[in-house]
Amino acid sequence: MEQLSGTFSYEETAYHLPVTYALTGTAVHSADEARAAFRATGESALVAAECLTAATEAAGKGAPPPYTGFLPDAVLRTLGYSLVDGSILGLAVVAGTPQSPDAAAALCRELQEKYMLTFLSGGIVDSLTGAGVKVGPELRLVPLGDRPSSAIHFIDIIARVAMMFGGVAPGDADRLLSYAQERAKAIAIVFPGLGDDETAMFDAFRLLGIPILSAGEYEGNEWIRVSVSEAVRTGMDLKGIKVSVTAIPIPMACSPAFEGKSIRKEEMFVEFGGGRSPAFELLRCRPVSEVEDGRIRVIGPEIGELKAGSAVPLGIIVEVAGKAMKKEYEPVLERRIHNFVNYGEGTWHVAQRDIIWVRISKDAVSHGVRIEHLGKLIAAKFRMDFPDLLDAVQVTLITDEQEVLAAKKEAERVYEERDERIRGMKDTDVDTYYSCTLCQTFAPNHVCIITPERPALCGAITWLDGKIAYEISPSGANQPVPKGRVIDAERGEFEGVNRFVKKASHGEVARCSLYSVMEYPMTCCGCFECIAVMLPEVNGFMVVNREYKGDTPSGMSFSTLAGTIGGGAQTPGFAGISKTFILSNRFLQAEGGIGRLVWMPAMLKEELGERLVRKLTERGLPGMFDKIADEKIAVTIEDLTAFLARIEHPALAMKPLL
């Protein structure tokens, strides 16, 4: 820096010396200004390299064509365009002089094939030319200069992209660094032949989050030692740069457009689960070494060996790996299997876990769809929809009954473990709830508020799931809801919840009680597992589940009730709830608790069974299980009233609801 003299600048740029300008906010055009900036940045190796390079190139002493030297702003704009547009996936700089020109050539070809724009500095250019590789910007191999120090242009490019596209203000070094670390998909690969200053310069690249992959003899610093053949993959993995999947290779159309279709019995070739055969689905997170991306296995008979119209066992096991993937994400991702299978034109899926029901249509089978293609579809969709989260997805499909039953045992253990995690949590333990507005597609003003003790009314999303879904996709349908000041603890009304609901319901709903069916109850979309209905004649509530088709003491069947309360409206006296919410201490809290429960269909009673008996005992109501009527006891309000009076149901003695 001491030998610098006179004035110098780059041409065709509005960013002066871009790295220095971005870091300090000052426009350097002379040796004295350069030295001042160098001191101001604590003797930054990047600033030094830039000033020296600029002075050399301004004096006409830069490397001659085909070396490009400094790239003008116009080229940068086009480059930034390709990055945003996705036609290039990331940036790489390759510097130094490789020992084996052929290995270096292979490395650069790999970078080209993976849509990386590659910059070359130093002896690498001659090595490539010698090995017969053509270089030039149009080939995505840009020769910056004949010395490794010309790699500083790689940083001036990133600095200008940050200022042009990222809104980073010149001089805001913190923003620049965080932009580069989070947004710039850039890697550096170094071969031997770097001088001390150049080594210091590359070392400073790491501040910008650029991994330095050393295919040379460098030791004693934070560089990552790799063999030439694995450099590109390692670098791209480290920065999460992924070549995306665009087409799914199966003989069936696949799009959200098919999500709503159903496959009727006459149209079906084969079905799985749905109470007709054992079936389950399970998604597990595995170490990267155990998952081979795109691997699909079918254990048991394939489609050709199945009888048309039959019910066959099925196990869907999805194993995923990814740097950012966490075990807690498993249930949230597992729920996506439902959507993905329904995207297939000839495949249909309902429910979750070990109660799934899947069908494949005759039409699809006649076009060549096999069980294997279910796996291909699932694997590809996971990769497409979670490119930042998942690096590899493999799917195992089991159709052999013994194998399904064995694997299902393990799956049930996992489900239980997941349920256990949320079971102990109380609403008072957290200060943030989560929203779910997934159903606003058809109920535009509906907002679910999910708390540890109140899962979403569809039963599919718990508070933990909401939290995780928010982590995975921060602008998705699950948003954090700070609960704020308590307005009414009994009814579960909170200032923060009200504020959120008002905004998310587009002003339609101003107040929401989480624990009351009578005052400001939560709105309903259409997905509720059950409906709780107030029965004024008996001073209690009945709960009816979706699967129950018969009449109820309210005088309405489930489908009539659902039509009355759905669509995002607030209907006092009625609430859409999940099955597990019946077992929550918050169920009917404002109305006096579970003692108000007077009627449920027998199938729901049986399903909750032991768990309900235990909960009732815990709430001081031993023996109440038998006092809850079902359709075998009463389907009219008159019969129900008589029954409740005869067995002295506790609800009759409670405070009048109206």
Partner: protein, 316 residues
């Protein structure tokens, strides 16, 4: 009867300025600003925000354009620059909207012609421009880069981004300083989703204009009207992801059976009627830019908007 709602709204529609004059680094003779509404129009209070504007639509390959317009224009339609000069000079729309229909023909590869066409249109008229590129993902990258480059500094409104293909258009807007039309198929949730996607890629909300997709009168227009109202009320209720001005173009108006099969002597009159009676209600539903293809629609539509937006009995 008047219904006062102004005080209930918590949000307002953002403004977007299209075009750049010499002072802003462009070559347009003026700029236009749309948006800024704080209430629904015509429910009692005087209209808020900027008055709706008319864009005149033309294309670079007339073989893909409605016959009544081509019959009316004759040879002028064979040269988009001449077409733009004629329409802007004689009929005075507020903006010109160029469709690069040439890119929609099978096997298109004349990318250099895009640059030339855009440059010629910029020469031919000083009005702010809207440019519609390809609608084939295979071509998008090159087409939108060319449009962006050719119009650098002009603050063009570029279309049309959709949920599946928005990256090239957003890239063009970000790299060369333009604005984006974000279209969704008559669906408020998809409209919102696309705006979020655009924001995540780095395009700020004040550079987006929503196209809710407009069906022709009698061919789905009422659905479009309804979704425009829903998008607008969502914006006024504080949903920032929907608080952008809207553009509406009932592009099928001149290809519906009634216009196609009209008696030749009534062709122009019928065309004007179908465009006028779709685009005027679109302004009432909240559209800030309405688009027409028959030059003769421009003046009556302008007069009708003028009459609606001016207070009764004259005045300001």
């Amino acid at each position: 009867m008047t219904i006062s709602t102004l005080s209930d709204w918590t949000g307002e529609v953002g403004t977007v300025t299209i075009g750049a004059t010499k002072a802003d680094g462009g070559t347009r003779s003026g700029t236009v600003t749309i948006g800024g509404e704080r209430d629904l129009a015509f429910i009692g209070n005087p209209p808020t925000g900027n008055r709706p504007l008319i864009a005149y639509e033309l294309c670079d390959d007339p073989s893909l354009w409605p016959a009544p317009v081509i019959r009316f224009l004759g040879d002028r339609a064979s040269d988009p620059a001449e077409w733009a000069r004629f329409a802007a000079g004689e009929y005075r729309p507020d903006l010109i909207r160029l469709y690069l229909t040439s890119t929609r023909k099978r096997g298109f590869s004349a990318f250099a012609a895009i640059t030339t066409t855009v440059e010629n249109i910029l020469q031919a008229t000083g009005l702010p421009l809207i440019i519609e590129g390809s609608n084939d993902p295979e071509l998008d990258s090159e087409v939108f880069r060319r449009i962006g480059e050719a119009g650098e500094g002009e603050r063009l409104l570029i279309g049309t981004a959709e949920a599946g293909r928005y990256r090239s258009i957003a890239a063009s807007a970000m790299a060369f300083g333009h604005l984006v039309i974000a279209q969704s198929p008559i669906d408020i949730n998809l409209a919102k989703q696309l705006n979020i996607l655009l924001r995540e890629i780095g395009l700020p909300h004040d550079r987006i204009v929503i196209d809710p997709y407009t069906g022709a009168l009698g061919y789905g227009f009422e659905y479009s009207y309804s979704v425009m109202e829903r998008i607008r009320t969502a914006a006024l209720k504080g949903d920032d992801d929907l608080a952008m001005p809207m553009i509406s173009s009932a592009i099928d108006s001149l290809t519906v059976k009634e216009v196609r099969e009209a008696d030749p002597s009534a062709s122009d009159r019928t065309s004007v009627a179908w465009e006028l009676y779709a685009m005027l209600p679109a302004t009432v539903a909240g559209a800030s830019i309405v688009c027409v293809r028959h030059p003769s629609t421009i003046q009556p539509l302008k007069a009708a908007i003028e009459a609606l937006w001016s207070p009764p009995g004259g005045g300001a």
